[in-house]
């Protein structure tokens, strides 16, 4: 029992924090209702995928600085392919973009394994490359998204037999997020591969000596990260209807949420649930600041300060853990 609490205590605490923030939001803005929750879920979507992408790599003991650039590239690719194309064509675009993310992520991993250059340098270089590629695909924000894709994340899920009052609190965006993450994460977590990812993050040498194919596992971890980033890019295109070649603030946000979500930056610890809850917490803080009528630029500063503070705190905890 104490083991369970220690493992899940962090996530439970985060849930409690989320509930407190919801109550605070309700106090600040008594009219905060299901519609606002829907827009929160939509705003969280790209962040959540960025965080999922970062989480997989961090658990495997690495870091991926190219997450935001990957999202920008996949987003502009999807938007420019769908511009002027038929609705059915999007059925081809979605798997194509996802595959592109997977392959580019695998390229990240391959470069790390083959050149033996540290992950932080390789993904930094890839950040330049992907950013440049995004600018080549689309020089300025533009493109389009298929109507059914946009409809996929707006509105609520109609479940027969449920009263409308409950139904209104189930935005489609939340469902899309949960389904997409679970399809990849749950089979992974239960497979040998998932165990290997945790193993190489925990101790690469020990994993190697126990017969884990370290190189292959690392490449797959980065490939999965690319896949999640591609989902994030698609989510960006779905929610804005266009693609923008300049990466958003997703890199720092993803690292901050990973740390806040209880995943150790050293690797091998934590799960996906914590970081995802952490994203909701960070987004809700932003909503609250907006509701308090604080200048959006000041909000950006406060957000930056929170993220830096969280990362500092996480690093401090890691350091203390290593010393003891």
């Amino acid at each position: 029992m104490s083991h369970f609490l220690r493992r899940q205590g962090w996530v439970t605490g985060l849930f409690a924090l989320l509930v407190i923030l919801f109550i605070a939001t309700k106090i600040i803005q008594p009219g905060y209702g299901s519609g606002d929750f829907g827009s929160l879920a939509r705003a969280v979507l790209p962040y959540a995928f960025a965080v999922a992408a970062q989480t997989v790599v961090v658990i495997a003991g690495g870091i991926d600085l190219s997450v935001a650039a990957m999202m920008a590239l996949t987003s502009v690719t999807a938007a420019s392919m769908m511009a002027g194309a038929s609705e059915e064509y999007a059925l081809f675009v979605v798997p194509f973009v996802l595959a592109m993310g997977f392959v580019l992520g695998a390229l990240n991993g391959l470069l790390i394994v083959v050149t033996r250059v540290p992950d932080i340098v390789v993904t930094l270089a890839m950040l330049f490359v992907l950013q440049g590629a995004a600018l080549l695909v689309l020089g300025a924000p533009g493109g389009a998204a298929a109507e059914w894709l946009k409809a996929l994340i707006s509105g609520t899920v109609p479940i027969p037999g449920l009263p409308d009052a409950v139904d209104a609190w189930l935005p489609k965006a939340l469902l899309v997020l949960i389904v997409c993450l679970c399809i990849v994460w749950i089979p992974l977590r239960r497979s040998r591969l998932g165990l290997s990812i945790y193993a190489i993050g925990s101790s690469e040498l020990a994993a190697f000596r126990s017969g884990v194919p370290v190189a292959r596992t690392r490449v797959i971890a980065y490939a999965l990260s690319g896949l999640f980033a591609a989902m994030g890019g698609l989510a960006l295109t779905m929610s804005t209807g266009i693609g923008a070649p300049i990466p958003g603030p997703y890199l720092l946000a993803s690292v901050a949420a990973v740390v806040l979500g209880g995943v150790a930056l050293g690797g091998g610890k934590g799960g996906l649930l914590g970081p995802i809850v952490a994203v909701f917490v960070l987004r809700l803080v932003r909503t609250d600041l907006t509701l308090l009528a604080i200048d959006p630029n000041v909000t950006a500063i406060i957000e930056g300060l929170i993220m830096v503070a969280v990362v500092m705190f996480g690093a401090f905890i890691t350091m203390r853990g290593r010393q003891s």
Binding site: F128, A134, L135, I301, G304, M307
Partner: protein, 332 residues
């Protein structure tokens, strides 16, 4: 008794080249620079003249100073991605405060955010042990936010470029019949100071030591956080000075003034032979790296390569050069 000369086994040519490059990284760099200039001259005959050289030097200097920040932080195994924001901030504050303030006061106000950001970076990296990349990225986001808020408070007062900075940034002085960029007046002493600090002073040696083996350095009694804090403050102040120089060169204050210099500054330091893992490198190589990148940019502009392709190329250069250096070091 006959003396038999022991002839050493002939070293393979490829290995010899590798060893030569590892021992004297400056020579291949200078060769590369000359090759680029020759290619430029072939593509556009007559482009390489006195004015072009002065211009290239003028544009290479801000890049070289920022690359100096990267060199010093990289020697300790870090990186400073906040230099672009810091340079932009000090340039923007200088240009807006000079309207109403005394130049000296405006200068102090302009350098304040630089010192502050450097201090936060240093404490975050040195005391809390955040990865420098994440730390400096975070402070640069906060800095950009602050600048946006600041911009709205001064939007009515307007901005102007101080004559002195314009003179320093763009002016040339004819010396012995050669147009001599005034920016060299600032850069030459600065570069000499950095080279001297790195090679001859205790602080410079500490930077190499920390980057080479942090644990050993700490065990021999070095206060790690003090070195790191001093380093990041120095780096930020240098970035602030670069901002002032750059605004004199570009003459148009904007909120993303020096941002495009950040990635090339990392690339310049890496090309110049400074190891991104710390402990190895120097500033002389970085200066040549900055010159190479400036000439390369001219070349890419002449070839009409779009901005995106340029970024891809920079990324590939950083990756390729780092991998190559890793190979050379492993071979020794």
């Amino acid at each position: 008794m006959s003396t038999t000369a022991i002839t050493p086994a002939p070293v393979p040519f490829g290995r010899r080249i590798k060893r030569f490059m590892a021992d004297r990284p400056l020579i291949p760099l200078i060769i590369l620079l000359v090759i680029l200039v020759v290619i430029l001259q072939i593509l556009r005959p007559g482009i390489v003249n006195e004015r072009w050289i002065a211009n290239t030097i003028k544009f290479a200097i801000p890049l070289a100073i920022l690359a100096g920040c990267q060199t010093m932080t990289m020697l300790t195994g870090g990186i400073d991605l906040s230099v672009g924001t810091v340079a932009t901030m000090s340039a923007f504050i200088m240009a807006t405060q000079i309207v109403s303030q005394d130049p000296a006061v405006a200068f102090l106000l302009a350098m304040m955010p630089a010192v502050l950001i450097g201090l936060v970076n240093g404490i975050g990296v040195g005391v809390f042990r955040v990865h420098p990349l994440i730390m400096t990225l975070g402070t640069s986001l906060i800095g950009t936010g602050c600048l946006q808020v600041y911009q709205r408070t001064v939007i009515a007062s307007g901005a102007k470029i101080p004559d002195f900075l314009a003179w320093l940034g763009t002016g040339v002085t004819p010396v012995l019949g050669f147009a001599f960029p005034n920016a060299l007046l600032l850069f030459v002493p600065l570069a000499a100071l950095i080279v001297f600090t790195l090679a001859r002073t205790g602080f410079g040696r500490l930077l190499y030591a920390v980057g080479d083996n942090e644990r050993a350095t700490r065990l021999s009694g070095v206060q790690y956080w003090q070195v790191i804090t001093a380093l990041y403050v120095t780096s930020s102040v240098l970035a602030g000075v670069t901002g002032l120089l750059y605004i004199g060169l570009i003459k148009a204050p904007s909120l993303s003034l020096a941002e495009p210099l950040v990635l090339p500054s990392v690339a310049a330091a890496v090309i110049g032979g400074t190891s991104i893992f710390g402990g190895r490198g120097g500033y002389t190589g970085t200066i040549i790296g900055a010159l190479i990148l400036t000439v390369l940019t001219t070349l890419l502009t002449i070839l009409q390569m779009p901005e995106g392709a340029r970024r891809i190329l920079f990324g590939l250069i950083v990756l390729f050069v780092t991998a190559a250096y890793l190979r050379i070091v492993e071979d020794k």
